[in-house]
């Protein structure tokens, strides 16, 4: 494996990140040169230097091997999280090294969990940087770089193949080189439209841009301490619900819908299950809340339940109510949503509803096979037969994911968290959701967590974002032939 080639491409990703730091510094400058200006400027310079230095020596490689491509993608994620700490560390405030690492990882993995007790105390430049980390991480650290950077030819194919999960590559019925362009067009387009709609709904420009970035990346970072509850606006909540729902759908399907092609959102089985599941759960939660008099009317209950169900399922994490006061049924259903989450090929994290659907079909087919042992039964999704390798990988991933959550819970409870906090935090971090229950509820944060649990949380976030095996393989790269 050519380490210098890997370093070169990671360097290119760093240059891209440095550009966003510079943009954040410009926001600081426009805001009257607030206290984040120098930290962002210095961080931008340091990141650009780190990223540009390898380019002085290493020439462009004609062909990248799969092992190298893999190291580039995982390495880019890790290095992005490290340099993402720089502005926080230099600014100071609540950002100790552990806190800065947690916030950076939370942003890039689009988890949206925060260690900040007072978000509104942050200067605007730093708030914009927080949202930038989420926006970059939403579609993938490498994906953005692949579009912006000069033509990489076959290497682009290699890197995008590694960045996208296997299950996300379905529904991209295009040449792989076009996939990257589709992702970015849909992503940027959705962000722009959401910004405009939020502005029309009553937010100021800065809040509209930042919340649009956060919603479309399904991160959930907000510029307000009480998240979306601050605005108390049905219009804003409606815009965000729609934006989050769309951001939770496979971008290839969204693209096809816009172009009027056959494989659109109305014909997709996965999207039907996804939307149907959210609608049913929202209704059940609303009835539970209304039945227990948590809210005075059914409409109030439905408004809150729908927002939270969509927010959790899409792994965004925005909040308009304190879910710690909700009924046990609501909590259980929200935990279920935190595990399953949205569609593959979207910006959402979690297990992905595609896997749940496939698992359900596999169980059904297994029962049929027991009844008809000589039958040949194929498992299909959206009319496409899924081969055995895909089905095996789904089962293995589901098992690994559950194990990850359990191990995370054990670690959390070992170091002082109560059961509901430890379990929900483990699910929230592994699924890149953000808020859990208990001490890490929708109106709380992770500030009170001890450092060891924040490190545990950030590890779970990375494992979840890189779909577990992606991260673990890094430690066994030497044995890869």
């Amino acid at each position: 494996m050519r380490l210098h080639v890997v370093i070169r491409y990671i360097g290119m990703v760093l240059l891209f990140i440095a550009a966003f730091m510079l943009m954040s510094a410009v926001v600081s400058l426009v805001n009257g040169r607030d206290s984040a200006y120098y930290p962002l400027l210095l961080s931008s310079f340091l990141t650009a230097l780190l990223g540009g230095f390898p380019l002085i020596f290493v020439e462009r490689a004609e062909q990248i091997k799969i092992k190298e491509g893999y190291c580039i993608v995982v390495g880019s994620w890790l290095v992005a999280c490290i340099v993402g700490m720089f502005p926080y560390l230099i600014w100071g405030g609540e950002f100790t090294p552990v806190n800065a690492w947690f916030e950076s990882v939370s942003g890039f993995t689009t988890t949206g969990a925060s260690i900040l007790n007072d978000v509104e105390d942050l200067p605007r430049g730093l708030q914009f940087w927080r949202m930038s980390t989420a926006w970059i991480g939403g579609v993938g650290v490498v994906m953005f770089a692949l579009v912006i950077l000069p033509s990489l030819g076959k290497n682009k194919l290699m890197l995008s193949n590694v960045e996208l999960s296997t299950i996300a590559k379905d529904n991209y019925q295009y040449r792989t080189q076009v996939i990257v362009r589709i992702l970015i067009i849909v992503y940027v387009g959705l962000t722009l439209v959401t910004t405009l709609l939020l502005k029309i709904s009553g937010m100021c420009w800065f809040d509209a841009v930042t919340h649009a970035m956060s919603a479309c990346s399904t991160c959930g970072f907000s510029t307000k301490n009480t998240s979306i509850a601050f605005y108390d606006s049905a219009a804003i909540e409606t815009v965000l619900v729609v934006a989050m729902t769309l951001a939770g759908i496979h971008f290839g399907i969204l693209y096809a819908t816009v172009l009027g092609r056959r494989n659109n959102i109305f014909r997709s089985e996965v999207v039907r299950v996804y939307v149907g599941m959210m609608a049913v759960i929202a209704l059940v939660v609303a009835m539970s809340l209304w039945g227990q008099d948590v809210y005075p009317s059914f409409v109030d209950s439905l408004r809150r339940s729908l927002f939270h169900v969509v927010s959790i399922t899409t792994t965004s994490g925005f909040a308009i109510a304190d879910t710690n006061t909700w009924t046990s049924l609501a909590v259980v259903l929200l935990l279920f949503c935190s595990v399953v989450c949205a569609c593959a090929g979207s910006t959402a994290g979690g297990m992905k509803i595609n896997r749940l659907l496939l698992s359900g079909k596999m169980i059904r087919n297994r029962l049929k096979l027991q009844q008809h042992p000589n039958a040949v039964i194929r498992t299909k999704i959206d009319g496409t037969v899924q081969d055995d390798a895909v089905l095996d990988s789904v089962v293995i991933f589901v098992v690994a994911y559950i194990m990850l959550i359990l191990v995370g819970t054990v670690v959390n409870t070992m170091f002082g968290a109560d059961l509901i906090t430890g379990f929900s935090a483990s699910i929230a971090c592994a699924g890149n959701v953000g808020p859990g229950f208990g001490d890490v509820g929708s109106m709380n944060n992770y500030a009170a967590f001890p450092a060891i649990l924040k490190l545990n949380g950030s590890l779970l976030m990375l494992l979840g974002r890189l779909e577990i095996f992606g991260f673990i393989q890094l430690f066994f790269i030497r044995y890869w032939r």
Partner: protein
């Protein structure tokens, strides 16, 4: 000729130059930031120290004036030595106390200073009344009784208010101290991060030097040695198309011309 044409003009030299300049730039930039932040720390520290000194001096002046006034009043009212000297000292002390309290009032805003001003005013007018002979002394109520029953309580009151003023004035420096600690943190952290980045850059520099220059030179050396000793054909893998590749091609060409 095209075979030997340099693919990058001054390739090795340019890379070395840009590499070293990057490290120097990093050092320079982080140094400048640190200098700037340390300058701010220095200014903030000076501001806090001056404010603190001023508070302490004012409080000292007030205590000194109060004690002087008290000594003069004792001589006049208790001991009974009614002389012009003690009267002048008393009037001077009243003026000094009034000036110091006014200065404190102008600098610090708060209930402690306002209360001090009121009590100092009461004490001063009490003493002025005594000096102007406005107090109705007789056999039942002498000047000594006036000192013990009226003046002394007010004197103790004013003294405690001066102490309260000093404590209050010092506590207003709290936010400035917090800001100072923040500035100090910001002076140190960028330098630390820059150092870490520089270490990474230097390690990368060493690695690239090793991959692109040291190892190819060693490979060429070994291959040439093998050719001279064992007549093994000369070949060495180059990592980069620059002057070293060209050198290798030239050596190969030279060897091929040998009989």
């Amino acid at each position: 000729m095209s075979r030997f044409k340099l693919l990058t003009i001054g390739g090795i030299r340019k890379r070395m130059f840009v590499g070293f300049v990057s490290i120097v730039l990093l050092l320079f930039f982080s140094g400048m930031v640190s200098l700037f932040e340390l300058g701010r720390v220095s200014n903030d520290t000076e501001e806090i120290l001056l404010a603190s000194k001023s508070n302490v001096e004012l409080a000292g002046e007030m205590i000194s004036a109060l004690n002087e006034q008290n000594d003069a009043v004792i001589c006049l009212a208790v001991i009974g030595e009614d002389s012009l000297t003690y009267r002048d000292v008393c009037k001077n002390a009243i003026a000094r106390l009034s000036d110091a309290v006014s200065l404190a009032d102008a600098k610090v805003d708060g209930a402690a200073v306002d209360s001090l001003a009121v009590h100092a005013g009461v004490l001063n007018s009490m003493v002025m009344d005594y000096l102007d002979g406005k107090l109705p002394f007789d056999e039942q109520f002498t000047s000594r009784d006036w000192y013990v029953d009226s003046y002394k309580d007010e004197y103790v009151d004013v003294a405690s208010h001066i102490t309260r003023y000093m404590t209050g004035a010092q506590s207003t420096l709290g936010p400035d101290v917090n800001r100072l600690s923040r500035t100090a943190y910001r002076a140190v952290t960028p330098v630390f991060i820059s150092l870490v980045v520089m270490i990474v850059v230097v390690i990368m520099f060493y690695y690239f030097l090793s991959v692109y220059y040291i190892r190819p030179v060693l490979r060429m050396n070994k291959s040439l040695g093998d050719f001279l000793t064992f007549k093994v054909p000369f070949d060495a893998t180059m990592t980069c198309r620059d002057e070293l590749s060209e050198l290798k091609e030239r050596i190969k060409s030279l060897i091929s011309r040998l009989p």
